[in-house]
């Protein structure tokens, strides 16, 4: 039995979520191979070869895979996937975009966003925005699975020395092309892998007021997140959204500022180790999940917290 893990990468670097997906593969058990499909992706492939527990890295380096368009990458992954018992990808937007297309090409069902491995064919996954956890069993010959990073502690990025093997590239399907992208530039850690996250909600009142959270975050080496209410109000861009419809985070410390704690938001952060809530409404639902609650006006206490650190 061998497991194929589809690498999350930017050609130049391997995405952190790949380490969690490799960890899920280890929990399933078997030889772990990592597939890197990209263009000029040698650096990402070398990083994949160093992951502890990886036996082999398959690299498909071709212009057709430059932006990992699923129309081009899915046929490659499906063809390789036929040789494996499991095909895994991270439940990032890249993995979610690609893997169901692979599953359908293999004529098999996909199991999305597993958070635990019970055995090689049985997995746990959240449904109804995390309000229920389903245990599901697959009888498929090839199990196609996306992995939620917060369910698995990352495999060590160093310690492996896997062989790197090149794959012949397939043709460009010719039905899609990359036009452009706007990526938020930030020196702060990535929201989904940060050890500390400071999030603001509707209570922040404006986008300008988020500046004090950025200041606090920089002191803590934290990423900044937001509730959907803050995104909908236009305070911050959508890629900061933590919740059912945004990013799922599980840092060591989550500081919720001016967030009431809608179910939708709790679904995205309740896996955090320690939760701090700052809200002037003492009945806010966020306090029901917070380890430390501070009932106070955030405009008074955030500057105080910043000064105290």
């Amino acid at each position: 039995m061998a497991i194929l893990v589809i690498a999350e990468h930017s050609n130049a670097a391997l995405g952190a979520a790949t380490l969690n997906t490799v960890a899920a593969a280890k929990a399933i058990g078997g030889d772990i191979h990592v597939l890197v499909a990209g263009a000029g992706c040698a650096a990402a492939a070398e990083a994949a070869a160093k992951i502890d527990g990886v036996a082999k890295v398959l690299v498909a380096d071709d212009a057709a895979y430059a932006h990992q368009l699923p129309e081009n990458v899915a046929p490659l992954v499906a063809e390789q996937g036929k040789n494996y018992s499991h095909v895994l990808a991270s439940a990032t937007t890249a993995g979610k975009n690609l893997l169901p297309r692979v599953a359908a090409l293999l004529d098999t069902d996909q199991i999305s966003e597993i958070i635990a491995v019970e055995s090689a064919d049985t997995f746990k996954r959240p449904i109804y925005a995390g309000n229920a956890i389903a245990t599901v069993q697959s009888s498929a010959a090839i199990k196609v699975i996306t992995v939620r990073a917060t369910g698995f502690d990352a495999a060590a990025a160093e310690g492996g020395s896997a062989a790197i093997e090149s794959l012949a590239a397939g043709a460009d399907a010719g039905v899609s092309s990359f036009v452009g992208e706007e990526l938020a530039k930030s020196d702060r850690p990535d929201l989904t892998s940060a050890k500390v996250v400071v999030s603001g909600g509707r209570g922040m009142g404006s986008g300008e007021n988020f500046d004090m959270l950025y200041k606090l975050a920089d002191k803590l080496g934290a990423a900044v997140g937001a509730s959907r209410a803050a995104v909908d109000a236009g305070f911050v861009p959508n890629d900061l959204q933590v919740g059912q419809t945004g990013k799922i985070v599980a840092p060591d410390l989550y500081i919720a500022v001016g967030i009431s704690g809608a179910i939708q938001h709790l679904a995205g952060m309740s896996g955090s180790k320690v939760i701090v809530a700052i809200n002037k409404d003492e009945d806010a639902p966020i306090f029901q999940v917070a380890d430390y609650g501070l009932v106070a006006d955030l405009f008074d206490v955030v500057p105080q917290l910043d000064a105290a650190l």
Binding site: N97, D109, A140, L294
Partner: protein, 249 residues
């Protein structure tokens, strides 16, 4: 051009779902059911494209129980021209739904298929991409902007870290994200008119599709509950606790 828009009947997003005592699923008896919110966004986008003159006909389809007619009637009230219900009881895998939709695509030949990026019950986020594989059409998932230009469509996608725009040759598949649009509400006269719009009911077998799944749900449990911690009096106490008790800073 013709647009096919898929809608799913799900537990209303305002309902706090409860796990059944026997752990076989969640309680669905006497629970308000609605159109999946991401599908509402798909319907809205289809109607806007028709209002702009880009689309000539909007066909709403659903795969589900007979009562899913309610959600199709909603789509008709919002502005879809006709509806097709592929009647199927019980849980249906995303792959099976994609196969049914593939058969409808073959029959209807739409230039654009709109779907929600995921349903808020199973949270699978699979059907649109699977339909892409089965039809060979390109896919623009998690769309926050859709712009049809002649024989192609530019789709701006919500990705981790920002936005990505891709150009897809028509026919194409688009799955909707939250910020694509803000769906309208159906007006009473439109709800009345929708009752007269055509709604065809067929089965998967009529389309030559066998509904099957390799995934069995063994049990469904409530998630581990976090318990409320303590309230601290001030920032000094908070910092002290985080340093010495939780040891996270």
């Amino acid at each position: 051009m013709k647009i096919l828009v898929a809608v799913k009947r799900v537990v209303d997003h305002n309902v706090k779902v409860r796990v059944k005592a026997d752990s076989t699923g969640v309680e669905l008896a006497n629970v308000k059911m609605s159109m999946n919110p991401f599908c509402e966004i798909g319907v809205e986008e289809a109607i806007r494209l028709k209002e702009k003159g880009v689309a000539s006909e909007v066909i709403a389809v659903s795969v589900g129980p007979a009562v899913a007619q309610e959600q199709l009637r909603t789509a008709l009230a919002l502005g879809a021209d006709r509806a097709v219900l592929v009647e199927q009881d019980g849980d249906i895998s995303s792959l099976s739904v994609a196969k049914v939709l593939k058969a409808l695509v073959d029959k209807e030949q739409p230039q654009l298929v709109l779907l929600g990026k995921q349903a808020i019950d199973t949270d699978n986020n699979q059907t649109g991409q699977m339909l892409g594989a089965l039809t060979g059409y390109p896919q623009g998932t998690f769309a926050s902007r859709v712009e049809v230009n002649g024989d192609s469509v530019n789709v701006t996608r919500e990705i981790d870290g920002g936005l990505q725009t891709v150009a897809l040759k028509l026919p194409a598949i688009v799955t909707t994200d939250l910020r694509l649009n803000e769906p309208r509400y159906a007006k009473l006269p439109d709800i009345m008119k929708a009752k007269k719009k055509p709604l065809e009911t067929i089965t998967a077998a009529d389309l030559g599709v066998t509904v099957a799944s390799t995934v069995t749900t063994l049990k469904v449990e409530a998630p581990a509950q976090r318990s409320a911690g303590i309230k601290v009096a001030d920032v000094a106490e908070l910092v002290e606790k985080l340093k010495n008790e939780a040891k996270v800073i």
